[in-house]
């Protein structure tokens, strides 16, 4: 299943609903382009909803890290929402779970943006 992203606005936060696989190649590129486009529009409060992301490889993990640091370096915030067990476990073993701000409830996640 290829990667897809769609955006919606909730109280000044851009929620990016992702689905599919974030892997080397198309999946990673789509995520990268989506985040870059949002930043170019000045949308710097980004909530990545990964509820329908069923697979991520080391390249995809790297892309999440890149998105996180890119947004932060531009004065924004990027948080993760609704991790699947597989993605959760991957972030745990790579010690990235504590680096990312991970939420499991959308309304609370939106409120958590400063």
């Amino acid at each position: 299943m290829s990667m897809k992203c769609s955006n919606r606005q909730v109280d000044g936060v851009t929620i990016v609903d992702c689905s599919g696989r974030i892997t080397l190649g198309e999946g990673s590129v789509i995520l990268r382009d989506t985040v870059r486009e949002l930043l170019s529009k000045g949308q710097k409060k980004i909530l990545l909803n990964l509820a329908d992301v069923n697979y991520i490889d080391s390249s995809g993990i790297g892309e999440l890290v890149s998105a996180f640091t890119t947004v932060r370096n531009q004065g924004g915030e990027l948080k993760l929402l609704n991790l699947t067990k597989k993605v959760h476990d991957l972030l745990q073993i790579t010690k990235l779970y504590t680096v990312f701000d991970v939420k499991d409830e959308e309304a609370a996640a939106v409120k958590a943006f400063s």
Partner: protein
């Protein structure tokens, strides 16, 4: 699990990575591994194939990647070889070190070692061979890893 061997010779492309992953998933499932183990094996093979295509053969169309799956009575043994310059093991960073946590690459070998029971890496001037071993349920290795 019955003794069985399957070999593939693949081009140095991203499609190769997907093919190797799909074959690993299918063979692991046929070998009786559970869903989580199948995911671990297929991801380890994917990461090893990515290394072979990108870092080993550097997408060179003249170089091939070979992937061998061997089912023995106790193990699934997967061997992936490239025709690159040979992986420099001393240059593989620890992705869990605080200074590396926010790096965007360097987690592939770590994930492979996390998911497989044994990992043997043999770099040479004619390429790198990585052998991945997953034991059948209930049979654990004495050591988690044996890189060489």
């Amino acid at each position: 699990m019955t003794d069985h061997r399957v070999s593939y010779t693949l081009d140095s492309t991203l499609e190769t990575v997907d093919s190797a992953e799909e074959a690993a998933s299918r063979i692991a499932a046929e070998s009786g591994f559970d869903e989580d183990e199948v995911m671990q094996i297929s991801m380890a093979v994917r990461e090893a194939a990515v290394n072979a295509v990108l870092h080993g053969n550097a997408y060179d169309p003249g170089k091939k990647v070979s992937v061998d799956f061997e089912r023995t009575g106790h193990d699934l043994v997967i061997t992936i070889r490239d025709q690159g310059k040979g992986l420099d093991l001393s240059k593989i960073p620890d992705p869990l070190a605080p200074e590396n946590l926010l790096k965007t690459s360097g987690r592939g070998i770590f994930l492979i070692r996390s998911f497989m029971d044994e990992v043997h890496i043999h770099p040479s001037q004619t390429g790198t061979e990585i052998k991945l071993v997953k034991h059948v349920h209930g049979q654990t290795a004495g050591g988690k890893e044996a890189s060489q």
